[in-house]
Structures are given as C-alpha cells and as structure tokens.
C-alpha cells in the first residue's frame, strides 16, 4: 500500500492545481496539458506499448472533432452529443485502416498511416458538406449548459482530468493484463511473439480500437472547448506528430510518459509563445524544435529515462 501514497498526492495536486494557479491563462494551459496528455496516452497504447509507430492518429482525433461540430452544424445538437458519432467513426476507421496496415513492418506502417491520414485530410478539405478548407464552427454563444461553453477554463480542466484518469486506469489495467504482455511481446519482436502463440493482429487491433476511441474523445473535447476545427487543426500531420512527440518525449510505452511529455511540452510552447509575442514570428517553434532535438540526442528513451537513471544509481549506491 506504500506505493499508493505518491499516487494519491499526485491526484490531490491535480485537483488542487487551479487553486494555486489563479490566473485564467495558467488554468487554460493546465487544461490544454491534460487534453494533450489524453491523446498522447491514447496513442501510447499502440505506438508505445505495441511499438507500432502510427503517425496518422490525427484521423481519429479529427473524427472526434468533426463528429462533435457536425452534430451542431447539421443537427443543431450540443457538440458533445456528437462525440459518440465521432468515436464510432474513429472505431470504424481503425478497423478499415488497421487491418490492412498491420501487416506492414516498422517504417512501412508509419508511412501507410501518414498516407491514410493525409488522404482523409485532403478529402475533408475538398468536401463542402463538412466545411471544406474553411472548417466548422461551434455555437457562437452557449444556448444551454449542454453546449459546455464556459468562459472559464476550469470546467474543461476537470472534465479533461476525469477522462485522463479513466484512460490511465484502463492503461494501467492493460499493462498488467494478458493483453499488455502480448503488446510488449509484439514490440519486442512480432515474429517471435507469433511463434509463441500471440494472436498478433487481434492484439494490435484491440489496442488500436481503445486508442482510436480515446483519441476521438480527445478530439471531441478539443472541439467543444475551442469551438472550431478545420483540416489543419483537426486532421493535419502536426496533430499526429504532436502525439508522437509528447509520448516519446516523456517516455513511450510507460504509463506516465505521455503525461510527463505533455506537462513539459505544452507549457514550453505557451511560454515561448508569450515570450516571443505570439506564434506569428516562428521563434516559438525554433525553441520548440531545438528542445526536441536536444532531448532526443541526450535522452533517447524520453524524460522517464531520467528517473530510471536516478533510481538505478541510487540502487547501485545502496548495494
């Protein structure tokens, strides 16, 4: 039970964070960190644990975001009511894209997922019904509480936190289950895993379905909070890459890696933005790029590796 103490402390800290960060700006950043942690954790199930580096998860994120805003623009529903449709579309996509591409190894898989996502992004950009290149807008003013349109970032922060907690619980559960062992076996060597009787395709598909569902939910939540989505912000290559970068930065294939990555990268992005006066100058991304390069150069296993380094040193000293 001793190991539970840090967890409880972390949970309390997350719940109490807004009481320390009074300014709306910081609360907004905190909400964005949690949102980024959701999509990166969802990606982590396939990209981290199973080692299938998808660079096309934007298609699931976009399904969620478009599902939410289409429910509003077409049916006049509150955006969040469109989330189930977005998730359903993402699950369908996961099967359609996953089954043929799971036969591909290593970089081929990454490239196929990029192509699939890019194809969808271009198609949506040329499709008037779903907003085309201009994108879709959410309700301009909240019509009822169901629109989940709040001025303060706090409600979003707590909603996102709830979803992240559920996702992390599921991930922790998978980690210790048979599925988790299968996934890691596949990452270690798919052929060897198969030869020992691991049903590789079924295992990968199961992980992809959970992953796609939560990525889509993150997309819906994003659309609800921001109230706008276009092919670039919902389905663009950078959306996929950000999930990869955040998970890899924190430590892919670890439970806490994506959270660490999001808590590092998003505030960094916001700080440099504030420091250089908006993202208009590009200086933000120079810093962003430089830090990504430096971390991959000196900590190839992600920031989580730092912790393991410290721990093993301590163990060595104790011995």
């Amino acid at each position: 039970m001793k190991t539970r103490v840090p967890l409880v402390l972390l949970g309390l800290a997350a719940l109490g964070l807004p009481f320390v960060l009074h300014e709306v700006y910081y609360q907004r950043v905190a909400a964005l960190v949690v949102l980024a942690a959701i999509s990166a954790s969802a990606w982590n199930l396939v990209g981290g644990y199973a080692g299938q580096v998808s660079v096309g998860h934007a298609m699931f994120f976009g399904s969620g975001a478009y599902g939410a805003l289409l429910a509003y623009t077409v049916l006049g529903w509150p955006p969040i009511a469109g989330a189930p449709f977005g998730i359903a579309a993402a699950l369908l996509l996961a099967v359609v894209v996953g089954l043929p591409t799971f036969r591909l190894q290593g970089h081929y898989f990454s490239m196929a997922t990029i192509a699939a996502a890019e194809l969808i992004a271009i198609a949506v950009g040329n499709w008037k019904l779903v907003g085309g290149a201009a994108g879709l807008m959410g309700p301009a003013a909240p019509r009822s509480i169901a629109d989940l349109s709040f001025r303060s970032p706090l409600p979003y922060y707590y909603i996102f936190l709830l979803v992240l907690t559920i996702l992390l619980l599921i991930t922790a559960r998978i980690e210790r289950s048979r599925l988790g062992f299968y996934l890691r076996a596949i990452r270690g060597g798919e052929r060897a895993a198969r030869s020992l009787g691991v049903p590789a395709v079924r295992t990968k598909l199961a992980a992809l379905l959970v992953s796609a569902g939560f990525t889509a939910l993150a997309g819906s939540l994003y659309a609800v909070m921001i109230g706008f989505v276009d092919p670039e912000s919902g389905l663009g290559l950078l959306v996929s890459v950000q999930m990869v970068i955040i998970a890899a930065l924190g430590g892919a294939g670890t439970l806490w890696g994506p959270l660490i990555g999001a808590a590092t990268l998003i505030p960094l992005e916001e700080t440099t933005n504030a420091f250089f006066g908006g993202s208009g100058t590009g200086a933000t991304f120079v810093v962003y790029g430089a830090i990504i390069v430096l971390i991959s150069r000196f900590l190839p296993g992600g920031i989580a590796e730092l912790w393991q380094l410290v721990r093993s040193r301590r163990r060595l000293r104790a011995a």
Partner: protein, 285 residues
C-alpha cells in the same frame, strides 16, 4: 495529343521527385533512419536559390551547385552532431530527432523570411520549348533532365565505383566492413551529405518553377515518402521508377479529376500498392 503532353509534363516532374527521393532512400536504406527533415532540407535549398538570385544575381549554373554544396555540409554536420548518437537508440528517438530538426529549420527560415510566398523571377528559364507539337516549359525541362541525369549518376556511383561499394558494404554489414578497413562513421556521414545534397539540388531545381515558402517541404516530403516506400528502401532505380510514375499519375489526375485531388489519388494508390505488396514494389521481401 493532350495525353502525350500530360505524360511529358508528368515525367519531367517525376524526375525531380526521383532525385528528391533518392537522397531519402539512400539514408533510409543505408542506416534504416527516416529523415523527417528531408522536406525541410529541400525548402532550405529553395531559399538558398532565392537568396542567391535576389542578392547575388546569379543563375542556376551557380545556385544549383551552391545549394548542393551547402546542403552537403549540413548533412555531414547533422550526422555528426545528431544522427550518430540517436541511430542506435529506439526508432522513436530517431523520428523525434529528425522531426525536431525539421521544425527547427523550418521556423528559423520562417523567422528570417516570414511566411510570405516568394518565387524566383520569371526570366529565369522562362521560355517555352515547342517540339513535335509538345510545349515544354524551359524551367521544367531543365529541372527534369538534370534531375534524371543526377539520379542515374548517383546509381552508377553506388554500383560502379569503389566508393559506392564501400558505402554499400557498410549498409550490408557494419562490422564486416570495419574488418576490411572501411570506417563506417565516415561512410555514413558521406551518405548523409550526399542524401542532403540530393535534396539540395532537387530543391534548387524545383525553385525554378514552384513557389517558395517555409512550409513547402511538407507536401514534398510526403511525396518523397510515398516514392521511397513504393520503390523499396535503399533502391535508387526503384525511386526513379516510382518517382516517374507518381509524376505521371499526378499530372493525369490533376487534369482529369482536379488539381485539389491529385495527392489523394497518389496516396490512395500508395495504400493499395502497400496492401498488395507490403515490402514495396521493388523491395526485398
């Protein structure tokens, strides 16, 4: 007649794609590293051409070799400063490092030149050559033919010279290459230099007829990825065939379906091809 014209245009563009992808496939095949910054290398070369033309008032005879040389230096530098250290790490660290590098380059250019689209003045190879009823823009003709020549030259260098054998030896088996006195580090650095130089020449050539912006590399690198996957990792003849095919497909689909859909057709065919042949059209199983 229009069909012949479209195919000719497609082949010229495809030759540039082939050269662009040759650089990527060389690095990919030699050390199994995907350079996500390759498109940004191309973009950098386009700006080198732009700066050379605007401030030094020189023509392609100067700025193409200049871009090749500068990008060669960049490639070697990147290898020693970054790639050598992440190569042995997990695949994710490689993706992270080259993607970070791409973002860094892209926004450094953005910072200096802003997001505005620029282009080279039209008088630079702005004529039109008419042969046998075909009308070919001088700029595209020059770019296509030079790219074709260089791609074939690169292939000959890899297969017919002692230097090429040394490069391939390192790709085949690093340890065995060391045993016969080849320094893998030097060879891999040269491969990065050559790969980046290919991007450099391709970028300088594309600048002759294409707009220049900090984000232009994005769409080009996706085409290059598709080309390399179709051609098989490390195969320059594969990249050549796939590049030409993609050029023609783009040209035809832009005419028959619409320019906005040309990439959709390419990506869809790519996915179909991967589904049928998971190891690439010419790749080894």
């Amino acid at each position: 007649m229009i069909l012949v014209q479209l195919v000719a245009d497609g082949l010229l563009l495809g030759a540039v794609y082939a050269l662009l992808s040759s650089g990527l496939t060389l690095i990919w095949g030699m050390m199994n590293v995907v350079n996500f910054a390759h498109g940004d290398f191309v973009m950098l070369a386009m700006y080198i051409a732009f700066v050379a033309v605007t401030f030094l008032h020189v023509g392609p005879a100067v700025f193409v070799p200049l871009a090749a040389l500068m990008l060669f230096g960049l490639g070697v530098g990147v290898y020693f400063a970054l790639i050598r250290h992440v190569m042995r790490g997990p695949m994710l660290a490689q993706i992270l490092s080259t993607f970070g590098l791409g973002i860094l380059l892209r926004y450094m250019v953005f910072w200096v030149f802003s997001a505005n689209f620029v282009s080279l003045p039209n008088r630079m190879a702005g004529g039109v050559l008419a042969i046998a009823g075909l009308r070919l823009q001088d700029s595209r003709l020059l770019a296509g033919l030079m790219a074709l020549l260089l791609t074939v030259g690169l292939h000959l260098m890899l297969t017919r010279t002692a230097f090429g054998s040394r490069l391939l030896a390192v790709a085949e088996d690093r340890t065995a290459a060391m045993l016969v006195g080849i320094r893998p580090d030097a060879m891999q650095a040269l491969a990065w230099g050559i790969g980046a130089a290919c991007a450099g020449v391709a970028g300088a050539l594309i600048a002759l007829f294409f707009y220049i912006s900090p984000l232009v590399g994005d769409s080009l690198v996706l085409i290059a990825f598709v080309t390399v996957c179709l051609g098989g990792f490390g195969s320059i003849p594969g990249a050549l065939v796939a590049g030409l095919a993609i050029g023609v497909i783009e040209s035809l689909s832009a005419w028959f379906i619409g320019a906005a859909w040309q990439d959709v057709v390419v990506f869809a065919l790519f996915l179909l091809a991967l589904w049928l042949r998971p190891q690439g059209l010419m790749g080894k199983a």
